[in-house]
């Protein structure tokens, strides 16, 4: 069960990155490329942290020190 939840969390996090990137770029156009780049970078880093701390830990059992 833990593995399913961890996998769902990882997939959702990266799907959210795609959705956020599309929403930002499609709605704001090329008004300010730096301002658009930063939130995309932020959600990518957030997804990466979720992947490392939740998904990867559960699948490799690193939280148990294995």
């Amino acid at each position: 069960m833990n593995k399913v939840l961890a996998l769902v969390a990882g997939v959702t996090a990266w799907a959210a990155v795609a959705v956020v990137a599309v929403l930002i770029v499609f709605n704001m156009g090329a008004k300010n490329q730096v301002l658009m780049f930063l939130p995309i970078l932020a959600v990518v880093v957030a997804a990466w942290i979720i992947g490392e701390l939740v998904t990867e830990r559960v699948f490799t059992g690193r939280e148990k020190g294995v």
């Binding site: 795609a18 599309v22 770029v25």
Partner: protein, 258 residues
């Protein structure tokens, strides 16, 4: 004959440490992330103009791809003075063929959705190498059609990401996707599960230690999967597969799961 044999004998030239550190080591993953995000952002931006808004290429009022037709017609035109936009006649003939056969109607969808897809894949880091290759191919075609703009810069970044495909998506979906899927020469968990029912060996071909098909490093050779007991043995097996597998014999079929 001896000259030919000496010239074309199998000899692997290894990359220097610096090249491997840049293109194969995860320590530069943050730099690849920035390059990937910039390139992905540019493709998403370019694609957004083609699928969204007043000047979109597709699903607009009237036939699709009129904007693409105008672009192609401008590219294939030969001015009375000065140089034409396209330098290669074969490429001009190719675009002329597509204009004459009204390929712009469906090609506009390919380009518009292709740009958006490349942008999204690069941003999330899924199949980053393939996405970069597709982007580079688009850049290449735009440049052949006479459009410079930012295409040369994007082309170079795409090539770099292509060379660094193993680590370009490390801070991204490829971190899990590539090990799961693997490559033709090193099957990942998904393909191993599929192949496990067909062929596997029970002992390492190099040192004869027992192998675990679920975890041991795998190599593909002559269409069969061979597991090694450790990365060192896998490296030896990959370097001289014929030597070890000839001594080892045929791969041993194991029963399918379930």
């Amino acid at each position: 004959m001896a000259l030919l044999q000496r010239t074309f004998e199998k000899r692997e030239l290894r990359d220097p440490g610096l090249i491997r550190a840049i293109f194969s080591n995860t320590w530069l993953a943050p730099l690849w992330l920035v390059a990937r995000l910039y390139l992905g952002y540019q493709w998403l931006l370019a694609g957004s103009h083609k699928v969204w808004g007043e000047g979109r290429w597709i699903a607009a009022s009237g036939p699709d791809g009129l904007a693409l037709r105008s672009y192609w017609e401008r590219a294939i035109a030969i001015p009375e003075q000065g140089r034409p936009a396209i330098s290669y006649d074969w490429y001009r003939d190719f675009l002329t063929f597509m204009v004459n056969h009204e390929w712009y109607r469906w090609f506009s969808w390919v380009i518009a959705l292709g740009e958006v897809t490349v942008g999204i894949l690069l941003i999330v880091g899924a199949f980053a190498g393939l996405a970069a290759l597709a982007g580079a191919f688009l850049n290449f075609n735009f440049m052949l059609a006479g459009s410079a703009s930012i295409n040369p810069v994007l082309f170079v970044i795409a090539l770099l990401i292509l060379f660094g495909w193993k680590v370009a998506g490390w801070i991204g979906v490829d971190r899990w996707l590539l090990p799961a899927l693997g490559t033709p020469w090193q099957p990942g968990r998904v393909f191993r599960r599929v192949l496990k029912g067909r062929v596997a060996n029970e002992a390492c071909p190099v040192c004869q230690m027992p192998v675990d098909p679920a975890r041991s490093p795998a190599s593909a050779y002559n269409g069969l999967i061979y597991f090694s007991c450790c990365p060192v043995c896998k490296e030896r097996l990959d370097e001289q597969p014929a030597r070890y597998i000839a001594g080892f014999g045929a791969a041993i079929p194991v029963p399918a799961e379930g």
